[in-house]
Symmetry: C2
Subunit: 229 residues, 2 copies
Amino acid sequence: MTSPNYQQKSAKDYAYFEVKELIIKGELPPEEAIIEEKLATLLEISRTPLREALQRLEWEGLVSRRKNGRLEVASISTSELRELFKIRSALEGIIVVHATKKATNEDLEKLEDCVQMINLLSGSDRVDDILQYGKAFHNILYEISDLETSVRILRQLNDHIDRYRRLVPFEKTKSQKPIQSDHDLILKIMREKDLDKVASVMEEHIMKSAEIAITAVTKYESGISKRND
Amino acid sequence: MTSPNYQQKSAKDYAYFEVKELIIKGELPPEEAIIEEKLATLLEISRTPLREALQRLEWEGLVSRRKNGRLEVASISTSELRELFKIRSALEGIIVVHATKKATNEDLEKLEDCVQMINLLSGSDRVDDILQYGKAFHNILYEISDLETSVRILRQLNDHIDRYRRLVPFEKTKSQKPIQSDHDLILKIMREKDLDKVASVMEEHIMKSAEIAITAVTKYESGISKRND
DNA sequence: TTAAGTATTATTGTATACAATTATACGTTA
DNA sequence: TAACGTATAATTGTATACAATAATACTTAA
């Protein structure tokens, strides 16, 4: 649910999506203090629904609470990012196994469409589009799998990872090419219904993209660290 | 954090732990309607902090929202339980690998104590005690691993599983004995620092206990189903 | 000038009041 | 009696007021 979901009727949901977007886009940077009154005024709602939205974001880990009870935008770290990818890798493995079991021909067609678009764009400079189709591929798997809890956790993890991606633009180099072509391979294995193999290839696929991300954030951290000394 | 955490200062936290306990213990049964006003009166607090607690429980999946916005205690199902154990298995695998890497001799001693207590009690009828030491074993691993996000998700999963355990008392038969002795084996492999093996043995360990739980809930479901027809 | 202590302000926590919505009860009509 | 519509009540959503707490600014003494 990273993409804006605009059938929000309630002030609470409005605040949730709005603040989340501000954080993921980096407009509220890591460790920025959050003052309820000010944010409420900005969003033109009262503190009550805003607080409820902030609590949810706190639970999701995008907002954190200082010892004194005050809120701030969550900080980022290489070790956290590494952990996020580890969990994601395990869950994507579970998901793809279930998706493989349940996939209809129609489902496989949809995945095929994504793969073809990725292959088509591969080599071009439309890296953001490639990224989008990659995400779409995974989202289709989520839906096929029908694993509610896993998908919920995964979407949350992906929100976090997206924030890292914005704050520290990951390398957009040829090193991503073999990663993108993994989708091709995964779909092939899904068709063969090889459950063990599809899980391990998926897990490796995720950990490969983790490497790029972690490298980028490590550079970033060494660049800006010592700020709080 | 299933065990009551009584340094709650705020009404919100009080409500959170209290309502969670009511749900896990089954005193608020699945699908029971939750009326904010009544619950607030019962807990002798106002609706505002109660609502914040309920939202957190909703996000954790112990409370769910009907299409009309009203809350109820979450329902249970075999398929959900199966998924809970799958995720738990993957995360316990990640955790035990990290714990194995980081464990000090002192840490291993603490684990050894649990294992010895389990072995000592094994064969006796003190099944609840055995269960407690089993939980303690895993909790120690969580702390050693120092993987904040994974542990947070795991504790949440365990709360859910505990609720199932209360609602549908799992079999307390000799079938659990080999599962309990897994702890012994896991500790041995940790000492050998065999990371691949420790992960797979842990995953199997969890999935074995899953079998017992799922069997129990399946019976339970077939017993009470058709209620909503 | 610095340190400690106190007053002031800022911010969060909680309760309550009211508005909006949904469910229920009741009566009317076919 | 069944179906519909309307009035009433129950419940949730939001705003606001006030209380509790933490941060800051200020004053005074050494």
